[in-house]
């Protein structure tokens, strides 16, 4: 049995996060970490020594253990970049523990249930088709990521939240800054201030004239529950849902599209039976990409003994979903894309109290895109080799910086 004191790493040691071997292959370093299940790494930037959890079952156990916290306020919270103060105190429910988490998340959750999300289908079909029309007007060749993957979920989430269309570029720019991994702490702090100022004004408008949108409903929920809200509560929630609602889905749309184009046999299976195959296909693509691999940070509230190790009270923990999603006992031949085996068992949307609130919305968007896109543009293909496309290494949400595509005009 070993114990884990948080000690600074040495300069010689390679620091976390590590580079993926390819967008769908975990970093080489994960091999040893997977063997150990619970091990320690040193974080880039903060230099913190933290625990990583890689086993599928161990991750699920940790993420449902009431002795772990998602609160960013803890000193050893495993930020792997230098976090501005707003990242520690202004997170909304992603960084809260129960009961505050439950109460705040519920204000938004009603909008994202399966039943509510299904009602959006006709509008999302329209948004996807409109964006394909624009894509066809722009090319070939076109950067699919900026011309399609970003605007589709941005339009959907803005309409849900009650944000006017003309502000999409503003949120795309700030979302990339906050989650993209190439920004400085100063840039991230400035982005938070700008977004908060914008949402602050929007709240004032919605207070005067409520609409059929999440922001107006959340304010009504607060009123109905007798709780008082501050504008700060609301703009933190909106910022979380904006970033969580577009950057993630956009990453999946680009990575998933590239993955399907790189696996033509699997794409053919989907095209031959889109209705039967689309549900498992989406789950398998989410599993193989696991874009939130480094996005499940926690802190131990007590000493926790797990997998033969003792995680000490106050130690930082990262649950590496990409590693868990490569467990061969759960997913035989885990490196292979096998669309027909897709199930919801994967950890691509997290697990436990903080399971992705927008999972069903993201699923619906992906389902509509991948059953429409290849039908409308059958000759769609990458415009340069996949391994030459720049990737967001070290980003909170993994993805591609661009995805040049072409087709037979």
């Amino acid at each position: 049995m070993t114990t884990g004191a948080a000690v600074p790493g040495t300069e010689a040691e390679e620091t976390f996060p590590y580079k993926r071997q390819c967008p769908f292959t975990p970093p080489k370093q994960y091999e040893g970490m997977i063997e150990e299940d619970v091990s320690q790494v040193t974080l880039t930037g903060s230099g913190l020594r933290i625990w990583t959890i890689t086993g599928y079952h161990t991750i699920r156990t940790i993420l449902t253990d009431p002795r772990i916290s998602a609160s960013r306020k803890h000193d050893n919270f495993p930020f792997y970049f230098i976090a501005p103060p707003e990242f520690r105190t202004e997170t909304s429910f992603i960084g809260y523990d129960a009961p505050e988490h439950t109460a705040t998340r519920r204000k938004a959750a009603v909008t994202f249930t399966n039943r509510q999300v299904k009602r959006l289908r006709p509008r999302i079909v329209e948004i996807v088709n409109n964006q394909i029309d624009k894509l066809l007007e722009m090319g070939p060749v076109v950067d699919f990521h900026h011309a399609f993957s970003l605007p589709v979920p941005m339009t959907v989430i803005c309409e849900l939240l009650g944000i006017p269309h003309d502000e999409h570029e503003f949120f795309i720019k700030h979302g990339t800054c906050l989650l993209g991994g190439h920004s400085t702490p100063e840039e991230r702090q400035a982005a938070i201030v700008e977004v908060n100022a914008y949402v602050n004004d929007l709240i004032t408008i919605k207070e005067r004239e409520p609409g059929d949108d999440l922001l107006s409903r959340a304010m009504a929920e607060y009123a109905a529950s007798g709780e008082e809200y501050t504008k700060r509560d609301l703009f933190n929630m909106i910022r979380l849902l904006m970033n969580g609602g577009h950057e993630t889905t956009a990453s999946m749309l680009s990575l998933g599209t590239a993955c399907l184009l790189e696996n033509p046999d699997q794409l053919k299976l989907l095209l031959d039976d889109p209705e039967g195959m689309i549900d498992p296909a989406v789950e398998e693509l989410v599993r193989i990409a696991t874009i939130g691999d480094t996005a499940i940070p926690r802190v131990a509230l007590e000493d926790i003994e797990i997998a033969g190790k003792v995680i000490r009270k106050g130690d930082g923990i990262l649950c590496l979903g990409l590693a868990g999603n490569r467990d061969p006992e759960i997913f035989p031949e885990p490196e292979k894309l096998i669309l027909e085996r897709g199930t919801r068992k994967h950890l691509g949307f997290g697990y436990g109290l903080h399971h992705c609130i927008g999972a069903d919305l993201a699923r619906l968007e992906m389902q509509i895109v991948w059953t429409t896109l290849f039908q409308r543009i059958p000759s769609l293909r990458l415009a340069k080799p996949f391994d030459e496309i720049p990737r967001k290494e070290g980003a909170v949400i993994y993805g591609l910086w661009e995805l040049p595509v072409t087709w037979d005009a």
Partner: protein, 107 residues
């Protein structure tokens, strides 16, 4: 600590001791009770820990929030008047002896 009884569709029942603060769902998962999938692990976002509370129950259960109500419209087995999501029923001494029925399917 409370004793919770989970009854399967074939009539077999499992009685487990569940800690205060845990949910009826977590009591089932920690003790290997079959039929409670809990795909999301307690995030109130999947609706796969559906149970039917025993008709004779008189114990005070947590109030159903709108999110749970919404999710119960999409369960794999039909929603009945006594349907609940077991992740949304916290356990305390007050619910000692609670009996829940596990539906035929969750997915």
């Amino acid at each position: 600590m409370a004793k919770i009884t989970y009854i399967q569709t074939d009539g077999t029942s499992t009685i487990v001791d569940v800690k205060d603060g845990d949910s009826v769902m977590r009591g089932a998962k920690l003790n290997g009770v079959p039929g409670i999938v809990a795909e999301c692990g307690g995030g109130a976002s999947c609706g796969t820990c559906h149970v039917y509370v025993d008709k004779d129950n008189t114990r005070p259960l947590s109030t159903m929030h709108a999110v749970e109500d919404e999710l119960l419209y999409c369960t794999a087995s039909p929603r009945l008047d006594n349907s609940r999501l077991s992740c949304q029923i916290p356990v305390s001494d007050d619910v000692d002896g609670l009996v829940v029925h596990v539906p035929e399917k969750q997915i």
